[in-house]
């Protein structure tokens, strides 16, 4: 079995990318994923990951110019694709791993439990995700396929995959930031049920356009645990929600809650940091920018391999541009949605 360490890392990445290109014709499935400014040809096998790609990605506006990219979701059962190498005895430090690849124009990630490698050549816009089998990826990939590749590609353009939820009305929107369990997804689902728009509840694309901060959709999936599912009464819309995912949550799509689906984009006017308060009524109160950054940046940076300093700078700039507020969540979903809608109407609490 081949072992890789920092010294041979970039060579290994280039070898895998070349092997995928040489085996392109052997991949059983080829699909196109069209996202904001990006048209990705994805070469894969059949299976659950391919299904997630077909149903979980947000479609871009058709007329928008898009840069082509290619990503191979590979495993040793396809053509002469090699088995994934293992990491050697040398220290594995994610920061050093990223730095070594970045010095060679590459981005990458390794998940040792599954011998799972991802590499991306930023200049060629060429990526490989090497797994032991067709669906041999970490369980969270099914909710946000290609997440790391999108992170690397958009970061290279000065945009940012951001760990936040969104709600909007009339083209204006708020970002909902905070660690898992803060109430982002429940707030987004409540808003959608009440007629508000959203471009996503977990990962969204943020870009600066002059003085504006725009957010666009990448994924259409929403998640709720059993308690949230029951509290929001989602059973009447999703009588057969399927099985729970790796987090113990049901996974469904924005269009399951509202026929119009995800919004094309929202012009973000504020950053809200939700927290479950236990009080009957929701309340929006000012929040210091440093506290807003602490809510927004850490999880987004820790969950995305590489590009950590640029991420900190980006989130710093985003926090600096937007008014920041606490959102103390009430106990009823429709009341939360009314509170956010009223905030969007007034542009202030």
């Amino acid at each position: 079995m081949r072992h890789v360490t920092l010294d041979g890392l970039a060579d290994y990445a280039r070898e895998l990318l070349a092997a995928c290109e040489a085996n392109a014709g052997a991949f059983p499935r080829k699909s196109r994923v069209e996202l904001p400014g990006l048209a990705i040809d994805v070469f894969s096998d059949h299976g659950e990951l391919a299904t997630a790609l077909a149903h979980g990605m947000a479609a871009a506006i058709a007329a928008e110019p898009a840069t082509p990219a290619r990503i191979f979701l590979a495993h040793p059962g396809i053509g002469s694709i090699p088995r994934p190498a293992l990491w050697g005895e040398a220290l594995f430090h994610p920061n050093m791993f990223s730095e070594r690849l970045e010095a060679n124009g590459l981005r990458g990630h390794y998940f040792h439990d599954l011998s799972y490698w991802q590499f991306y050549d930023v200049e060629k816009r060429l990526g490989v995700q090497l797994m032991l089998s067709a669906d041999g990826c970490p369980p969270w990939e099914f909710g946000a396929p290609l997440r790391c590749f999108l992170h690397w590609e958009y970061a290279a353009r000065g945009l940012r995959l951001t760990h936040a939820g969104t709600l909007g009305k009339g083209g204006k929107g708020v970002l909902l930031a905070g660690a898992g369990g803060a109430g982002k997804s429940g707030t987004v689902a409540s808003g959608l049920l009440a007629g508000l728009d959203s471009v996503g509840d977990d990962y969204v694309l943020v870009e600066f356009d002059g003085n504006r901060s725009l957010t666009r959709p990448l994924f259409t999936t929403l998640k709720q645990d059993q308690a949230g599912f029951d509290r929001l009464g989602l059973g009447r819309l999703l009588p057969d929600p399927g099985s729970l995912n790796w987090q113990g949550k049901y996974q469904f799509r924005v269009q399951d809650l509202c026929p119009r689906g995800v919004a094309d984009k929202l012009d973000i006017v504020a950053l809200l940091v939700p927290r479950i308060s236990g009080a009957p009524l929701s309340a929006i109160t000012p929040l210091a920018r440093k506290d807003a950054l602490m809510a927004l940046a850490p999880s987004g940076i820790a969950q995305m391999p590489g590009e950590r300093e640029s991420g900190f700078r980006f989130f710093g700039e985003l926090t600096r541009r937007l008014p920041c507020y606490n959102l103390a969540l009430g106990t009823r979903g429709n009341e939360i949605a009314e509170t956010v809608a009223a905030f969007l109407d007034r542009g202030r609490p």
Binding site: W87, L91, F92, H93, P94, N95, F111, H112, D113, A288, R289, K290, D291, L293, M294, A297, P298, S299, I301, A302, Q303, R308, E309, F312, R313, G316, T319, R320
Partner: protein
């Protein structure tokens, strides 16, 4: 601590942003975040601008005067956390009137808060440091 010592940010892994006078620092290598009180933010800004501690002692700050002992303790924390190091080849810079004014207007004592909730996810060696049966991200104790 030498009161004439000039300090500098320890490495390129230390990055920081300032919002309305409040500093937030991230150590990219360790994944630890740091937040300061209002006076702590001013002193951090002064120190990384090469203002020697001697220029800060006795200044109005946080409803009192900045004592040598408090400043000592604060700089000790900054160096223990790996955020600041003595810089031997740098010239001292005078405290700017604007920063002196901000320091005088502060209301909180010198303080730094460290947040390391996500540090394991950023810095741990997931291959050699994790608890094998539990797998990543359960870190070996």
């Amino acid at each position: 601590m030498g009161y004439s010592t000039i300090y500098a940010v320890s490495s390129n892994d230390i990055v920081y942003e300032t919002f309305d006078g409040d500093a937030v620092v991230l150590d990219l290598a360790s994944g630890r975040y740091f937040g300061f009180s209002d006076s702590g933010s001013c002193v951090w800004e002064a120190l990384i601008a090469q203002v020697p501690p001697a220029s800060l002692v006795g200044r109005a700050c946080g409803n009192g005067q900045l004592s040598a002992a408090d400043l000592d303790a604060f700089i000790d924390r900054l160096t223990e956390y790996g955020l600041l190091s003595p810089a031997t080849d740098m010239a001292s810079v005078a405290l700017s009137p604007e920063l002196a004014q901000r320091l005088a207007a502060t209301r909180e004592a010198l303080k730094i808060d460290m947040h390391d909730e996500l540090a394991d996810l950023v810095m741990v060696d997931p291959i050699h440091d994790v608890d094998e049966p539990a797998g990543w991200p359960a870190v070996k104790q």
